[in-house]
Symmetry: C2
C-alpha cells in the first residue's frame, strides 16, 4: 500500500486524483474513483444536469471524499465558486489560475484548495494564498497546458514549496506513478487513463479514439498566440484549427473564436470531425476499457512492485 | 552502484551519457565524463580543431570508451560518418535521423550505433536497422527536439523495442535519474547539467546563463513550420527569432534561414544578444560549476539512495 501525507490529509486510500475534465468528469466517474479509494473530481462544466445535481449524485453513490474542478476562465466559475461552499465540497482544484481571492473563503469553509500550476512562481503564489497542495502539470497532459513538462516541473516545484505536490501529465500506469513519486510527488493525477474507465460517461467514439491512439496521436493547438494552448487528438478539427491558427491573417482574437462548442461535440456527441478530443501524449498506453477501481488497483500494484524492487538496481 | 545491461555492453561504470552538443561537446568534457565512468560524447560539429584531432585528444586523456554524435542534417555528417570508422570510435549517436543506410557499415566496424529517437515508430526503425540501443529524448531537452516528452516517450518506446532505451530530457539530478530507471530506461543522457561542468569549454557567459536560469527560462523556436524545432534560453536572439517566425509573411524557407551562426556565437563568443543558447527546461536545477566526475557521482549517489529507499513508499 503506497500512502503519503496527502492520503491522511484528504482521507484517501490511494494517492491518486482523477482529473476534473470539462464535459467529461461527471458523478458516476468521480464516485467510482472515490469509492475505490482515490479522489474523484467533478468538472464544474458538468457533462449533464447542474453541478449541484452532480455533487448530490456523487454523495448518493459514495460516502468518500471527492472534489470539484473549477476552470477559472469558464463562465461557470463564479456560480461554482459559491456552490462548493454551500455544498461543503471537501476538495476544490482550480484550472487556469489560482483564485487567490477566493482561497480564504474556501479555506474557511473547510475546503482543501489544490490549484493546477504550470510553473514554480505559480506554485509559490498558491502556497502563499493558502493552498493545501498544488498539482504540477506537464504539457504532455490533455486539455489546457503550459510549456513545462512533468519531468521538469515536478522536481522544481517540489524544491520551491513545502506543501505536497501532485504530479500530472504523462502518467497512465505504474511506471509513471513510481517515477512521479521518486521525482518528489506525493500523489498523481490522471485524466486520459480515466477517460477509458467504464464509469466515464463520455461518448463511446471518444473512448475508441483513446484506445486507438499511438504516441504521436496528439497535437497542441493555440501555441501561436499563447494563453489557451490545448492538447488534443489529431483529427479534422485539430487540422482545421491549426490551419486557421497559422494562417498569415490570423490574430489572437480570431483564434480565440475558434473551436466554440467543440469540447461538447467530442464528449457528448462523439463528433469525429468537428469535436475537439482532449487527450494526453500517454494515450498510446491506454488499451482497455476497465472499471475505475481496476485501473487504480492495477496502477498501484505495478507501482508498488517497482518501488519494492527498486533497490535491485543498486548492486 | 547502479549498473544496467548497457554498462556491460559499452564498458561503463555508470549508465550515463553526456549529450554530444554541437559547438560545445569537445575532447576535455567527453574525456572527463568517460574517465569518470560515464560515456563522454564528442560532437561532430567540433567546438575547436577538427573532429579527428578531438578524437585523438580524447584518447590521450582517457583509455575509456567514448562516442561521437553525428547530427545528420549538418554538412559535417558525411565526413564524420567515414571518420568514425577510420578512427574506430566505440559508439556513435545520431541526431535528426537514423542513418539506417550507414548502420551496417558502422556495425561491421564494431561501432555501437545509438540513434536519438522522437517516437515509437522511429525507435522501431532504429532497432530493425541494427541499433545497439536508442536514446528516447523528450522535448524538455535543449537543442533540436520533437513533440513527445520524456514521461510519455520512455515507457512507450520501452514497450516497443527489445534493445536498451536511454532516457534523455529533463534529467539533471538523482531524482530524474531514478525516475527514468523506473520508467524503464537502462541509462540516462544529460546535456544541460554537463554544460556546467568545469571541463566544458563553452564560453563562461553560457555557463552563467544556465546557472541563472529558472524553470520558465527556455522557449522552443521553429514550431510553426516544424522540422527544426529547438529549445533555447530566452534572450534577444530567441525573441527576434520568434517575432520573425510568427510574422504573417514568414514562410518555412524564410524561417530556415534564421539563426545562421547563432550556436557558434553562443558557445564560442558568449554573445548574449545574438547567440542561441540551447538549454533544457531542467536548467533551473543547475546551480553550480563542478568537475564532471563530481556531477556524475552526485547524481548516482542521490539516485541510489532514492532507489534503495523506494520500498519505504510501500507500507
Amino acid at each position: 500500500m503506497i500512502r503519503s501525507e496527502i492520503c491522511q490529509r484528504l482521507g484517501l486510500r490511494y494517492p491518486i486524483f482523477q482529473g476534473g475534465m470539462a464535459w467529461i468528469a461527471g458523478a458516476e466517474l468521480a464516485a467510482a474513483v472515490s469509492e475505490a479509494g482515490g479522489l474523484g473530481i467533478l468538472s464544474a462544466v458538468a457533462p449533464e444536469g447542474s453541478l449541484r445535481e452532480q455533487i448530490r449524485r456523487v454523495r448518493q453513490l459514495t460516502s468518500k471524499p471527492f472534489g470539484v474542478n473549477i476552470m477559472l476562465m469558464h463562465p461557470s466559475a463564479e456560480e461554482a465558486s459559491a456552490l462548493v461552499v454551500e455544498e461543503k465540497v471537501p476538495v476544490v482544484t482550480t484550472g487556469a489560475g489560482l483564485a487567490a481571492g477566493q482561497m480564504e473563503a474556501w479555506n474557511q469553509a473547510g475546503i482543501a484548495v489544490i490549484p493546477v500550476v504550470a510553473s514554480v512562481a505559480m506554485a509559490r503564489r498558491a502556497q502563499r494564498a493558502g493552498a493545501a497542495a498544488v498539482i504540477a502539470e506537464g504539457q504532455e497532459s490533455g486539455g489546457h497546458i503550459g510549456e513545462l513538462t512533468t519531468m521538469a516541473i515536478v522536481p522544481q516545484v517540489c524544491d520551491a514549496v513545502d506543501i505536497p505536490v501532485v504530479a500530472a501529465g504523462g502518467i497512465a500506469d505504474g511506471r509513471g506513478a513510481a517515477a512521479a513519486f521518486l521525482l518528489g510527488a506525493s500523489a498523481i493525477q490522471l485524466g486520459t487513463r480515466f477517460l477509458s474507465a467504464r464509469e466515464c460517461g463520455v461518448h463511446e467514439n471518444y473512448k475508441q479514439m483513446i484506445l486507438d491512439a499511438q504516441d504521436i496521436s496528439t497535437v497542441a493547438t493555440g501555441r501561436r498566440f499563447g494563453g489557451n494552448t490545448c492538447r488534443c487528438l489529431k483529427n479534422a478539427f485539430s487540422r482545421d484549427f491549426l490551419k486557421q491558427e497559422y494562417a498569415p491573417e490570423a490574430t489572437a482574437e480570431s483564434v480565440a473564436e475558434l473551436g466554440g462548442g467543440a469540447l461538447r461535440k467530442a464528449a457528448i456527441e462523439g463528433d469525429l470531425r468537428e469535436g475537439c478530443f482532449l487527450a494526453g501524449q500517454i494515450s498510446g498506453l491506454v488499451k482497455e476499457i476497465q472499471p475505475a477501481a481496476d485501473i487504480i488497483e492495477e496502477i498501484f500494484a505495478e507501482a508498488e512492485a517497482l518501488l519494492k524492487g527498486a533497490s535491485q538496481w543498486v548492486k
